[in-house]
Symmetry: C2
Subunit: 206 residues, 2 copies
DNA sequence: CTGTGTGAAGGCTTTCACAGCC
DNA sequence: GGCTGTGAAAGCCTTCACACAG
């Protein structure tokens, strides 16, 4: 409810909480305190409580949260977020690996197709999905109503490919390329730059 | 200098600026304005200027920044950040892929060894480095003064493995596992949760 | 006149302090 | 007594407005 009011960072943490609550539920635990949940999520208890109150209040004072109902509530807030078909563009090293990566499927995201300028070159053998040429992109996206794309092309071609994705109707891009993409304001981009993550970590090493 | 004052987010963006400036330098461009640089980095010009003034002032008013000297300055701030040996733990799907991923080596991070409970199982054939058993971890880390680790084990074993890493003397962890790691305060962790990134994106899709 | 440097203002998150309920 | 819910305070980061230099 009142989706538009929830801060970006809170939305991100809700995903975290949801995963933890799912595990608790699987383990037949039926009550959890904000302190315990917060610890598992790496945040402060007050932060977690504040986050939850953005979309309602379902804790019991003096007791904590009912795992089952909390799970249902979180699922409903994030509901639209899952079970989206996803395409991947750029079947090089990293791209091929992500196609095989079971972490996506496990959480409800299916990579339904991959595209590459050289459809033959996917690494790692036996792929469950086919690698299509780039000129099939637009028709595929519209036929399958795909809104999400994973971009794993080199930085040199990333912007060109992005323009094609936007043109094809893609609304959100998970960008692994090394450049910052220029996109219209109706398209969302999340960047994952692995080299920068490492560089950033090493900055904080003594 | 005065490294300790630079905000976390600024440090992260410095890495971004640095990569862009490197490219400009390679392309023989010798002057750049904060507006142009900021656009390439996806931030506002004032933000970029503020970020840069945290460690000095080297622009020329009315002109912009000298690419060459800016590159040197950024390199010196991030200097400690690069050319660190890195180990990877968990040679499954994602782990094997990251071992092959050339994006790390390109930017000065060399994965010097990988570890797994089953050293034989690395996917994708011909690896340049060997997969060692977990009991070699501690001695390897101390012998090679490794401070950085990439963690690509399943969530179920992530905390146990993390404890071993901390025990071995690792100071920073790039965590791809699905749980939030509990570490002592002298250890830094950056989390990369690919499924959450996708979920987060799809939340913002109309 | 162009484009940087920067104190001050503004906005967004986090944290505190404590009221409220079981 | 224990733990959630929340307005207010604090903290952090971004943006503005404009002084200043070339």
């Amino acid at each position: 409810m009142a989706k538009f009011v929830i801060p970006r960072k809170t939305v991100y943490r809700l995903s975290l909480y949801f995963r933890i609550v799912e595990r608790l539920f699987q383990n037949r635990i039926d009550t959890v305190s904000s302190a315990a949940l917060a610890k598992a999520a790496g945040v402060k208890p007050t932060q977690l409580r504040k986050d939850l109150t953005y979309f309602g209040q379902f804790g019991t004072r003096g007791l904590g949260y009912k795992v089952e109902s909390l799970e249902r509530q979180l699922a409903s807030v994030l509901r639209t977020a899952r079970f989206q078909p996803v395409i991947l563009v750029g079947a090089g090293n990293l791209g091929s690996a992500l196609i095989h990566y079971d972490g996506f499927a496990k959480e409800g995201f299916e990579i339904v197709a991959a595209f590459d300028i050289r459809p033959g070159r996917a690494k790692g053998g036996h792929l469950k999905i086919s690698i299509l040429p780039m000129d099939r992109l637009k028709s595929f996206v519209s036929e399958h109503s795909v809104k999400l794309a994973i971009l794993t092309v080199p930085g040199t071609s990333a912007q060109v490919v992005t323009n094609a994705l936007v043109e094809a109707g893609i609304q959100a891009i998970l960008n692994f390329s090394t450049i910052i993409l220029q996109v219209p304001s109706n398209v969302v981009v999340n960047n994952v730059n692995l080299a920068i993550e490492l560089e950033n970590l090493s900055y904080f090493i003594t």
